[in-house]
Amino acid sequence: MDLNKNTYVFFFSTAMVLVVAALLSFTSIKLKPLQQKNIALENKQNILSSVGIYVSREEADLNYDKYITDSFVLDSDGQKTDIDISSIQLNKETKKPKKEQNMPLFISNINGSEKYIIPLRGTGLWGPIWGYISLDNDMNTVYGAVFDHKAETPGLGAEINRDFFEKPFNGKRIFDIEGDFVSIAVVKGGAKENDYHGVDGISGGTITSDGVTAMLKERLDKYLPYFENKMKENEVNDIMNFIEEDINLNDTINKLN
């Protein structure tokens, strides 16, 4: 038979494509649930490690229920909404205009103090990068951060998911002394000592590092209304506590008298 006759070429390619398509879709459909479960568990694992709780992927579910006390979605004014947090896809939210975006937020309780976990999403050199950053209840000091990526260069940009890159974020601040939002930058050539708003970059991974800087600034900026509300609330609470203490003190003094 002449293998190069047009009819045969058509027949062969059609058959090949059909077989391959069937094989691939079958595998994809069969394995999808398992893959999604892995991804969901990994997300929980990442949320937990942003507040310093490191667990294996298998134990992520259990610990998530234990440490994450609350999670909800904010609107662009920083008000709570009723939107289901699992329905939020950050890659789609970031493309919307600022006013229409909904921001997911997780709250964790570590040793009696609340930590606010903000999901991040941005772009690196080759593809998306994402992560979680957690703030102390002063809404300023970073408690922990994790990053991950889809396809950054191994050994260079891909290192953003390593401890040596993530750890220096702890204790950094997102507001300056005047209370203005400055975010945290990844500094090429290394951050200066005592720089509260900079961490060391990765040599050879500058574009990914810049992606992290841009992602932090863009994402945290959207939460500012919520932070401000929360800080006011904290201030009021502080004053209330102070007054209460004052009253107690007065009582004691009165009693002594």
Partner: protein, 216 residues
Amino acid sequence: MSQKKEALFSKKNKKLITDPLDDNNPITVQVLGICSALAITVQLKPAVVMSFSVLFVLSVANVVVSLLRKFIPSRIRIIVFLVVIATLVILVDEVLKAYIFDVSKELSVFVGLIITNCIIMGRLEAFALGNTPWKSFLDGIGNSFGYAWILIAVAFFRELLGSGTLYGYPVLEKLGIYNFGYENNGMMILPPMALVTVGLIIWVQRIRNKKLIEPK
């Protein structure tokens, strides 16, 4: 048609495995697969993972194409190769994502690189299309190992000199070399140094193996 049956590991078949390790190495002699040698030899671990993936894809693709060799129309053979390779790679990726999630994360970016790896294309065209499945399988194994050892050798030097670690383990720090004022050579982690390292390996190989030197 009374052909004498060849033993599974005849001398000729063994040569299919040993040749690509030295005399006919895919990277240093056939000069195929240089792109991936550049991209993923910054550290040992990805290099090892890549080697295993290529081993699987190349040997299976070789067998599949060899089985189909009498049916593939030569006009569209390259497209057929591409489909076979891409299918295998996607299958591997899907299975890894479902069952060995950590390895799949490690692999992520290389999956695309395997599809474009010229070694696979080159071996399908040059060998599998004209040989029996068993021979093609051996050829696949041989070439993957030939590819793997160069990759791992390059990654060894680049990780050790560039980052001071081996397989993520801080060797130089443990040895206390930094106390004498030694510093990691940042240039080693940049792509050009991979080419230079491969060049040095070719140089050493040619000093050792006179067969490779073209007559003047």
